[in-house]
Amino acid sequence: VLKERLVEALGSDAVKTAPEDLAVYAFDAYTDGRLPTAVVLPASTREVSAVVKVARECGEPIIARGAGTGLCGGAVPVVGGVVISFARMNRILSLDARNYRAHVQPGLINLDLSTHVASDGLFYAPDPASQKISTIGGNIATNAGGPHCLSYGTTVNHVLALEVVDDRGEVFTTSCDDPGYDLTAALVGSEGTLGIVTSAWVRLMRLPEAVRVWVAAFGDIDSASAAVSAIIAAGIVPTALEMMDAVITRAVEAAFHAGYPTDAAAVLLIENAGFEDDMAACEGAIAAIVKEHGALSWRAARTAEERAALWAGRKGAAGATGRIAPNYYTQDLCVPRSKLPQALRAVEEAANEHHITVGNVFHAGDGNLHPLLMYDKRRRDQVGAVVETGNAILRSAIALGGTISGEHGVGWEKREAMTHVYSTADLATMARVRDVFDPQRALNPEKIFPSGARCPEVTPP
């Protein structure tokens, strides 16, 4: 019945129920998956609305899906249900270059937006490493970050208004300029549990007139992380401040020849964008700090090509680790920036204890760590060790005053860990918002909130 009604609403080419088709949508970039009941590819807000109504009448939950690059199982249909793919809603609906804004569909690929508006001297600032494939809708769901959100802010800072389909299939709109509650801010980062975004007005920024990229190399990880903390403590917030350890730079160089030194224990990739007039002073100030912290070398990228190569290496770093181990598991934690050295030491200790190779490639300026734990998923002992290491790293982040996710989200993976950072009252307060937008828990169920048994207060009234 579900299939027939979906076909009736969308046409047969937009509805998939064959097992081989469903299998593709069982997983995102997390390690575990579940089969959906059906997958639909709507082409309009009206069709999304129709899908939600049909699914609800058939008692099926709804899971919105972008490109499936999420690392926490946020797009996995944990209890089955109808997966809505936004692959056919991927257009820029309008561009208002004069007022720095664009109206886009959720399936639009992040990088496509910046590419499209570059001729108007504009760009879209949030730049997760997945930006070549991840979608604006998925980015909105997770409040995605990226290297440049150090100075530009995460996705929520760049979303002005939303069109949303609710849990009953009704369409509503929010705008951050409306009087009343800032529903736009509440929806961004809600991982598809409060509504399904069907279009978004996003803020664009002017392309900077000057960009500099520098690479600093260090003999040990401690010095590099201390240098990062010192740069921030000096009040210098460059556009991006990234760190990679030797495990990563060697893999990156082997894969891309991006231009990183491979004999250093850690490198910093630093970008500053802005005005030509400020560049010399900025370089002088940062270079002085990294030298004070014992940098082995300091180098400026001389050309746009060199800059692009360094960034391509950085953004391709996770993929490059395929040379080290068949699989990797990315952890995502955020600590106060002065605690970076301690946090990295804790990562190393946890990995050593469980005999796991770890590579660090992360947004150092934000205190947002991404340890990549290398393993072979065919080896059960390694899988167990990776999980243990990941948990130990999260516990250390919490002990340092940090949090369990800086930019990837909670999803399916980390929902039980929510109880480590929030009290029952804190979580129950979040659940009040869910009660209003999704009282039946029909939108992306079994995500963010700990499973009911552990936390009885966090269930619907």
Partner: protein, 407 residues
């Protein structure tokens, strides 16, 4: 508005929780008061039994200077926090009017948006975490002291702009920025037929000013001489080197627009800028009502001209501030006395909202204010907002009736 029978000033979050929970149980309604600087926003409370002052919760909880973060209680004044940060070369760009009185909690709860947000972002984007007391006394924390955090819903951003109707903010954790070394203000009167070109030139500068205003009226409140088409006040912020270039660019841009005289203020530039921000909500007591409208920079000049003409039709004096970078409009209409204003203000309010449905009242003590469309037309998602209110404060204990749509 009835005078409150009881005033209470809790000095810790537990006491705050107890008071709020007790009122909620007993059906007594609470008006939350910070620095009273934005008291001109919103409707008067429907019922008022207890005035809850946040001034007892005014300490700095933790200042992590080298992390660029600070946690402070909600009743701390913007100036107090600002002074501490400034002594350490940092700031948070709240741009709140009358910062010596304005509190963190009040400024954030009112969703205040200042003129520098096109450069620095909105105040909400500086809130990393919060502690709030809900109507039933629940003490709920959200976020933390880290600059990126997607663990669960962003409750803190939801509380910003909620006008104290979802809970009482007790503490906020903020991200800070390093303060720019230099600030400079340009003041220039606008001669005949220069306004349009001046606005256009200012909007097209390669180095966007931190703030740029076209102002009509507000003669003694704002620095600089007014010309036949008002005046512009421009704030530049940045390094010494950048300021020099921005100054050259700005001079030639104004020159191209036919604006010859400019006065530069270096010492006291920030104060000069703050006087403009103070004027956003400066009222002439019961003789004036101030509206605020949001929009886009390219529309603001046309809109404000139409608003001035409308005010003239009602024989009201109109003064305006246009934020050329964000497109905001501040319109203060006034008359000789409270009776003269009272005779026209409701009809003017009707006509204004016909043209500009979203116009909000932000200042003015006229007794007829209660009859105005203080929040403008209800937003598209008002029913969901009402449902949120019902879920957070089912008895309507906190700031009842003050917010949009009777919330």
């Amino acid at each position: 508005m009835r005078t409150a029978a009881e005033r209470t000033t809790p000095e810790n979050v537990e006491a705050l929780s107890e008071i709020v929970a007790r009122c909620d149980r007993e059906g007594r309604k609470i008006l939350i008061v910070g620095g009273n600087t934005l008291a001109g926003m919103g409707f008067p409370p429907e019922q008022l039994d207890v005035t809850l002052l946040t001034s007892g919760l005014a300490s700095i909880v933790a200042y992590e200077r080298s992390d660029l973060t600070i946690a402070a209680q909600a009743g701390a004044t913007i100036q107090m926090v600002g002074a501490l940060l400034a002594a350490n070369g940092q700031f948070v760009p709240f741009d709140a009017p009358r910062p010596q009185y304005a509190t963190l909690g009040g400024t954030l709860a009112a969703g205040w948006l200042g003129p520098r947000r096109h450069v620095y972002g909105r105040p909400r984007d500086y809130v990393l975490g919060s502690t709030i007391v809900l109507a039933d006394g629940t003490i709920a924390r959200a976020g933390g002291m880290v600059v990126k955090n997607v663990a669960g819903y962003d409750m803190s951003r939801l509380y910003v702009g909620s006008f104290g109707t979802l809970g009482v903010l007790a503490q906020v954790n903020l991200k800070t920025l390093a303060r720019y070394p230099r600030a400079r203000v340009f003041l220039a009167p606008l001669p005949e037929r220069t306004r349009t070109r001046a606005c256009h030139q200012l909007g097209a500068l390669a180095i966007a000013p931190a703030a740029a205003f076209w102002i009509e009226g507000f003669h003694n409140a704002v620095d600089g001489e007014a010309g036949p088409e008002g005046r512009v006040v421009i704030l530049l912020e940045g390094s010494e080197a950048l300021l020099e270039r921005a100054t050259r660019d700005l001079r030639s841009a104004l020159g191209r627009a036919g604006v010859p005289e400019t006065r530069i203020v270096d010492a006291g530039a920030r104060e000069s800028f703050e006087r403009v921000v103070d004027s956003y909500v400066a009222s002439l007591g019961e003789r004036s009502v101030t509206y605020r409208l949001y929009g886009t920079p390219d529309e603001s000049e046309r809109r404000v001209i139409a608003l001035q003409e409308l005010a003239q039709r009602f024989l009201l004096r109109a003064e305006s501030i246009v934020d050329l970078m964000n497109g905001d409009i501040v319109l203060r209409v006034s008359d000789l006395d409270t009776h003269a204003l009272g005779a026209k203000i409701e009809a003017f309010d009707d006509a204004l909202h016909e043209a500009e449905p979203q116009a909000q009242v932000v200042a003015g003590d006229h007794p007829h204010r209660v009859y105005l469309r203080v929040w403008g037309a209800p937003p598209a998602s008002i029913e969901r907002m009402q449902a949120l209110k019902a879920r957070f404060d089912p008895n309507g204990t906190l700031n009842p009736g003050r917010f949009v749509g009777g919330i």
